[in-house]
Each structure stands twice: as C-alpha cells, then as structure tokens.
C-alpha cells in the first residue's frame, strides 16, 4: 500500500508565505525609513543584513531543493524529470525579465547618478567659496592692520592705563575681546564684550610661534554655535631695552549675515565634494541594493517555482508510483485525492481502476485455488490409480503421466512433461514399444479406441490393455490424447490358467471317469464274447473292442494332455545350456542310417539360462514335432533350429528360431495358432503349440509365429527367453 493516503502539511507553502511576509515588512520599513535620512542610515545595515540573510536562506533552500531534485532525477524517482523541466521553465521565465530589468536599472543608475554632477555647479561652488574666502580675507587683513596699529599705540601707554585703552579700542573696532599678554603668556589686560560669559583666552603655543613683530597672525575660526570669529595676534619690537615683549590678541566677530552665508557656502561646498567623492560608492551601493533585491526576487521566484512544480507534479508522481505498484502486482494501491481538478479526477479514476483490478485479481485467485484443488484432487486420484494414465498433446508431447504409468512402462515419466514421446521412447524401450504399437491410432486421432498391446521387457512379456480417447481442441485448451492402460499380464494368465484348470477338471470328471468303465466293459465284452464267438464275428468283436479300448486310451491321453496344459507346472529351475539341450533333443530325430531332417545353427558360447530343462525339452519336442508333421509328406523337408544371443534395449536374451521348409501355416490359423484346439492336422490334439507358448511364458519369454516370405521357407517360430532371472521363475522357485 503506497503511503500517499495522508494529506501532507504544506510546510513549504507556509515557509514561502512567511518569507514573503517578512520581505513585505522589510520593504515597508525601508520605504518609511527612506523618508528620513538619519533613520534610513540607522536601519540600512540592518535591512541589508536581513535581506542578505533571506538571500542566503533562499539560496540554501534552493540549493537543497536542487540537490534533492537532481538526486531524485538520477535515481529515476517518478515525477523528478517533469519537476526538473517545470523548474527549468520557471527559471527561464523568471531569469529573462529579471535580467532585462537588471540591465536597464544598471544603465540607468550609472548614467542617472553621473547626471547629478555638473561641472558648472562644481565651478560655481568653488567660486562661491573663493568669494567667501576673499571677502573674509579682506576683513581679516583689515583687522590685522588695525590690531597691529593698536598694538603700536599701546607701546606708549603705561601699564596702568592699558585696560582703559583696551576697552576704548575694543569699542572702537567692535571686537569681542582684546587681550594684552606679556611674557610667559601672562595676561596684562583684557577687555571683552561679555565679561561674565567669556574669560580671556591667551593665544596657543602654535599661534605664538607664528607671530612676528609687525607681522600679525590672523585666521578665521568657527565657533561651536556655528558662528565665525577672526583671531588676530600682533606684537611689536620693544623700543625700550629690557622691556617686556607684549602681544595683543583680538577676537573679532564676523558679521552674522556674512558668517551665515560663508558657513552655508562652506557647508554646501563640503557636502558637494563629499557627494562627488562618494559618487562611486553611491552607485555601487545602489547596484548592490538592486542586485540584492533582484536576487531575492529571483530566488523567491525560483523557490516558489520549485514548490509549485513539486506541488503540481506530486499527484503525477503519485500516479506513476501507483502505476508501478500495479505493474508489480500490488493492486491494493490507493492514492489520496487532494485536488478537485482534472488531476484529482485522474487519481479517482486510478483508484477505481485499482479497486476493480483488485477485485478481479481476488476472483481470479479464488478460481485458481479452486482449479489447484481440483487439479490436486485429480492428480491424487491419478496417482492412486493402478492403471497407467497418460495425456499427450496433439504433437505427441507428454502432458501428464501418473505414477502407475511410469511403473508399468518402467520409465520415469513424472519429470518428463512436455517432452516428445519419441524422445522418451529412445530412453525407455518399453515406452518405445508401447507407442509404436499405438502410434497409428494416435496419429489418426481416433475418437475412442482400445486394444491389447503386448510388449517385451527385461522382466518378460507384458500385456497392456489400452484404451484411449482423443479430446479435440476446445476454446483455449488444445487437443489431448487421454490414454489409460492396465498391465493385464498376470490377470490374463491367471484367467487362462483358471479356465483351462476348469476344463481339465471337467474333462477328468466328465470324460476320464467314464473312460475306465468303458474300457473295462470293452475288455469284458472281448473276453466274454471272445470265447463264444468265432470266425468273422470274433474278428469283428476284436476289432470293435480293440477300437474302443484304443480310442479310450487316446481320450485318456487327450485328457492327460489337457491336464498337463491346465495345471500349474512345477518348474524345476536350474542352469540350462540351451545349445546342449537342442543337440540332445535333435539326436532323437536321427534316422537309423544317421540322417536327420532337423538341422541346427547354434551360436557358440551361448550364455546359460535359468529354466526347467524338462519343460524346455518338451517345448523343443512340440515345435519339432509340429514342423515334422506339417512336412512329413514333403520331400527334402527340413527343420532348422538356430540360437542367437541378443542384447537389445529390451534386455539380454536368447533368441531361438525354429523354421521349416514346409508350406507354412494357413493365414486363417495364424492369428490363433497358439490357442488350444487350433490345428490343421487331422490327428492333432491342437495342444502342442499352446503348451509350447505356455512353457515359453513360464520362462518369462515370448513366442511369435509368422510365415517366411514366399519361396524362402514355411513357418517361422521365434522364441525369446531372457537370460536373467525372471520374476515368474523366481516366484515359482519360491513356491517350490
């Protein structure tokens, strides 16, 4: 479940609002302060620091956001690419107008401030200042001359009259203060226009150093109250030897109007010089302030752009994340609907889609579980079936096989699904034989068929009762062969044994039992009537009773033969050299003149087999007798017996082949030649070949019969007997 269901607190918007509020406040404060120069200067640095701090904060935030955004872009976070594009667009939109404004503002400041300074104003101020200086210098020189004259006049005034003289002079020249100073800066006399306010101040050392006789020192001095005064210090050479040198200092006020005008000119000149001197710093200050304001605006715009872009992209990135989750199989994804616009509608649609998908997935999951349960049940049933079950698709690839199928066909089929059955036939001979026997029906895709398949394995012959159904293609399911087969070998054998046992019992009961009385009766008739009859009657009697007795014997032989066939044989297993056995039997068919119609072609060093020598001997007799009886009237008739050792995929076995040069077996008998009572000989019992087949099967072998091609001989009997122990032989041994 994606964690986008909670509404996020808009910290970014809150911060942006606060920042703009602070900027607005600072602008208001700055605007107010700009009306008052002193306040402006007082606040300017603080505002500068404040704006710089905001600039740094914004810069930090933007850098942080950019770094985060780039990191997200590199990681491929959904929405980061779109965010980057939007922010790039915002940057372009913000930077272009700001750059234009900055450029024109920069030019305007440079040219505008320069236009404030005019050479004519500069020159006029210089002239005004020089005029003030000239005017004041004139007054200063006049007062210096007057002071020097006063000093000369005071030379002749006795020390006692000096204060009065100074007072008179001060009134005459309208001085603020006149002070006569003697040696060591001693004040001899002083006169001031305000004795209460002002004490006489003797001239300083630096002034005294500049005073020369007849060369008064004078200068203009500003006062703390803003007025101007002229200080003149004069002295004369002493006319009397040894007399004390005297210095007269006069302080004269400048006409207030003149003073005010001069001060204003001086202030204006100083202000203009300062202003001109600070022109560069002023421009730089303006540009700096402008740059700061524009940088703040730009960064604020960028930050706002970032926030807006993220806010715009967030639903899209949520959708992308949600889509990825859905693609990954998480259908429980729900996105929070935070907007009422088209994006909100899109989010709602996404939620509806995921809800539907989730329900469909749940339904599909339920169905799948049901199918799994059904399949498991079916597989369980199949696995517990004793019948082999195979399913092949239309291209004869194995789709399903139960355990019993593998056991019957002696092949591991569970792990061989989807493999072609032809491949399996190479690895498992029994499978190959089995499907070779049914391949025609499979290829024809017969709807329903059944047949008995006989295969030959290491353990002997197997009879497989096979039924199959072709399930054609339906909808999405492709065509399928469903094959069910059972190993009927033991069943058929038991059934046949039981049937023939019953036949033997009935023969013994119904036929053999009456035979003895018949025979006895015939013999009694022969004895009794033989004494009273003679001549031709006696001959007839003898022939009749002889025929009865002979036929009874024949019937007894027949019954015994049935009994031997039907009764479970008692095999006396041992190691049998088949070649030696064949040679022994063939010896019996050698004429007195040493000729024999039975020829052998035996493979030397034939391995021994485990079997009952007596029963195998009977097998050979039955086959040889059957052949000889078929060709007894044919000249040059021969029976050919050959042995061979074969080690084919069905296992190592000995093949015994009995062929003759007779006319062969009639085709209508060929199919049931091994069934009892099947014979084309007028005196045959029809049991020889049946017994032969029974003996072969008792030894785990297989016998088959066919006719040789025309002109190449008569009947061919092919017998295969395994070399190894057969389960039947072992079971018989155990019973023994």
């Amino acid at each position: 479940m994606i964690s986008v269901s909670l509404r996020r607190f808009p910290w970014g918007l809150l911060g942006m609002g606060l920042l703009f509020l602070l900027l607005l406040t600072s602008l208001v404060v700055m605007g107010g302060a700009a009306q008052d120069q002193a306040r402006f200067e007082q606040l300017f640095l603080w505002l500068l620091v404040f704006h710089a701090a905001i600039l740094l904060v914004l810069g930090g935030l933007i850098i942080h956001q950019f770094v985060r955004m780039v990191a997200q872009y590199r990681k491929g976070v959904p929405g980061s690419r779109l965010t980057l594009r939007l922010v790039g667009g915002f940057m372009l939109v913000a930077v272009l107008p700001v750059s234009v404004v900055y450029y024109f503002s920069f030019e305007f400041l440079n040219e505008g401030v320069d236009s404030w300074f005019d050479v004519r104003v500069d020159s006029a101020l210089e002239d005004a200042l020089e005029l003030s200086r000239s005017s004041l210098d004139l007054r200063v020189r006049q007062l210096a001359t007057e002071t020097q004259e006063m000093m000369s006049e005071l030379e002749g005034v006795s020390e006692g009259l000096v204060p009065l003289a100074l007072n008179d002079y001060r009134r005459q020249v309208e001085a603020q203060e006149l002070t006569l100073v003697g040696s060591n800066n001693r004040i001899i006399a002083s006169s001031t226009d305000s004795p209460i306010r002002r004490l006489p101040s003797p001239p300083g050392a630096d002034i005294l150093m500049r005073v020369r006789p007849e060369q008064p020192y004078s200068r203009l001095e500003p006062q703390p109250d803003g007025s101007l005064v002229i200080r003149v210090v004069a002295t004369t050479s002493s006319r009397r030897p040894g007399a004390e040198n005297r210095i007269l200092q006069g302080i004269y006020p400048v006409d207030p109007r003149m003073s005010a005008l001069s001060q204003r000119v001086e202030d204006a000149f100083a202000g203009y010089r300062e202003f001109a001197y600070l022109r560069g710093p002023i421009i730089q200050g303006f540009i700096f302030t402008l740059s700061l304001a524009l940088a703040i605006s730009l960064m604020a715009a960028l930050w706002a752009g970032l926030l807006v872009a993220r806010r715009m992209v967030r639903p899209i990135s949520d959708l992308v994340q949600g889509t990825r989750s859905v693609a990954a199989g998480d259908y429980s994804t729900r996105l929070a609907v935070q907007r009422a616009d088209e994006l909100g509608f899109l989010v709602q649609s996404f939620n509806a889609m995921t809800r539907t998908l989730n329900e469909a997935r749940d339904e599909a999951e339920r169905n799948r579980r049901l199918l799994d349960a059904e399949r498991a049940y079916l597989e369980s049933v199949l696995q517990h079936l004793r019948s082999g079950v195979l399913a092949l698709d239309g291209s004869l690839r194995l789709r399903t096989a139960n355990e019993a199928a593998g056991q019957i066909l002696e092949c591991e089929l569970q792990g061989a699904r989807t493999r072609p059955i032809s491949e399996l036939g190479v690895e498992c001979p029994l499978v190959g034989q089995f499907f070779e026997a049914i391949s025609d029906a499979l290829v024809r895709q017969e709807d329903e068929w059944s047949r008995q398949v006989v295969v030959f394995t290491r353990s002997g012959r197997k009879v497989l009762m096979t039924r199959a159904v072709w399930l054609p293609t339906s909808g999405s399911s492709r065509g399928l062969h469903a094959i069910v087969f059972d190993d009927m070998t033991e069943f058929l054998k038991a059934q046949r044994d039981a049937a023939w046992g019953e036949v033997a019992r009935r023969l013994a009961h119904e036929i053999k039992n009456p035979l003895t009385p018949i025979q006895l009766s015939a013999e009694r008739l022969s004895r009794r009537l033989g004494k009273v009859l003679d001549g031709a009657d006696r001959d007839v009697l003898d022939r009749a009773t002889g025929t009865i007795i002979q036929q009874v014997e024949a019937m007894k032989t027949l019954v015994n033969a049935f009994r031997d066939y039907a009764q479970a044989p008692r095999l006396e297993l041992g190691s049998v050299d088949l070649n030696q056995l064949i040679q022994d039997v063939c010896e019996l068919y050698v004429d007195s003149d040493g000729h024999s119609r039975v020829q052998t072609d035996l493979e030397p060093e034939l391995p021994g087999i485990r079997g009952d020598a007596g029963r195998l001997r009977q097998l050979l007799h039955n086959l040889i007798k059957n052949a000889l009886e078929a060709g007894k009237e044919q000249d040059g008739f021969t029976v050919h017996i050959a042995t061979a050792y074969l080690d084919d995929p069905a296992g190592p076995h000995i093949e015994l082949r009995v062929t003759d040069t007779g006319p062969g077996i009639k085709p209508d008998l060929l199919e049931r030649i091994f069934e009892p009572y099947t014979t084309d000989k007028p005196r045959g019992t029809g049991l020889g070949l049946a017994v032969a087949q029974k003996i072969v099967e008792e030894h785990g072998g297989m016998i088959e019969c066919h006719n040789a091609p025309a002109g190449e001989g008569g009947a061919v009997f092919r017998i295969r007997i395994p070399v190894e122990h057969t389960p039947q032989a072992l079971a018989h041994e155990e019973r023994e």
């Binding site: 701090a53 200042l129 200086r133 300062e274 001197y277």
Partner: protein, 189 residues
C-alpha cells in the same frame, strides 16, 4: 555541501559583524597605556596613540567627509565567565577639513572644544592628545584598595557608523576598513 554551508555561514557572520560592531582603521592603535591616580577616586588614563590614517580615510577627509574617533578606557574585573566592566570612560573627537580657511578642524565631542590645525599631521597629533587623556572620576574605593584584582583596558576605534553610508558599504565591501576592535590591557597594580 559542507563547504557550501561553511561559506554561507561565513558570509552571514561577516554581515552581522559589519552591522553590529564599529570598524577601526588598520593603523589606529594604542602603542602604550598608563594610568595615574589623581586622587582617591580619580584615575587618569594616558594613552600613547598611533594615528596614521589609511589612504581611503585621508581621501575621504580631504573630500569633506567628517571622521569620528573614539577612545574608551575601562576598569575590568576577572569573573568566572569573562570580564566585568567596573567603570568606563569614553572620549570622542571629530576631525574635518574646514574649507573656508583650509585648516583641519578638531572638535572634542565631549566638551565641544574646537581646534584648528594647518596640517593633517598636526590635526591627528591633536586628536591623539585629546583622545589619549581619559580621566575617570568616582572610581570605587575597592579598586584603589585592591588594585591587584582589577585590570585596565583601552581601545581606539574609528566610529564606523559616523561615516557616510556609501562609504561604509564601499569601504566595508572592499575591505579597506577592518572590524578589529581589540582591547589593549594592562595591570592596574
């Protein structure tokens, strides 16, 4: 990222310091300082000052800008955390060019006394004399009784805020004026 943060921090700190603290010219310094008890509760602090102005201030002065210098002396007592000022005395002097008579005018802000000096050197010498004499009246008796517990401190600085604003910005941004406001300290004992 760490380097970026440190640069931002440095810039912020610099701007704050510029705003909060006066700036002193590089060549304004106290060469020597002494004190003298005038009576039981009056201490006279004498400072030997080096008043060489940097070029930017000389140019500014010649172009009508008024400079203000301030000397401050104080009696300190060591505390567990820093120092505590027991008493302090401040003297401020203005220096300007008087264009009407081409003299340099020195004004003691404390008592409004004015002096005209024909050269900048004379003016600065006079400024140094005025600032170098700081009488501290009403000094607590404990200072006189246990002078070993106290220290003297003095400093000389150009009053940065008294400069015209463009000059403050320009000089500050160009680094012509530094924010140094170091105290010269000596023992009261």
């Amino acid at each position: 990222m760490r380097a970026g943060r440190s640069v931002i921090g440095f810039l912020m700190a610099w701007l704050l310091v510029l705003a909060l603290f006066p700036v002193t010219a590089q060549a304004l310094e106290i060469r020597d300082a002494r004190h003298l008890w005038m009576d039981d509760d009056t201490l006279l602090v004498r400072l030997l000052l080096d008043m060489r102005l940097p070029q930017v201030l000389e140019e500014a002065l010649a172009n009508g800008v008024t400079l203000e210098f301030e000397a401050e002396a104080r009696i300190e007592q060591d505390r567990w955390l820093g120092r505590e000022s027991v008493q302090s005395e401040t003297r401020r002097v203005k220096l300007q060019y008087f264009a009407l008579n081409r003299y340099f005018l020195v004004t003691d802000v404390n008592d409004d006394r004015m002096e005209l000096k024909p050269t900048l050197g004379d003016a600065l010498e006079h400024v140094a004399r005025r600032l170098g004499r700081l009488p501290m009246h009403g000094v607590p008796g404990a200072v006189r009784e246990r002078p070993e517990d106290y220290n003297m401190a003095a400093r000389l600085l150009l009053v940065y805020s008294a400069l015209p604003l463009p000059l403050q910005l320009d000089a500050g941004l160009r680094g012509d004026l530094t924010t140094r406001r170091e105290w010269h300290r000596w023992s009261l004992d």
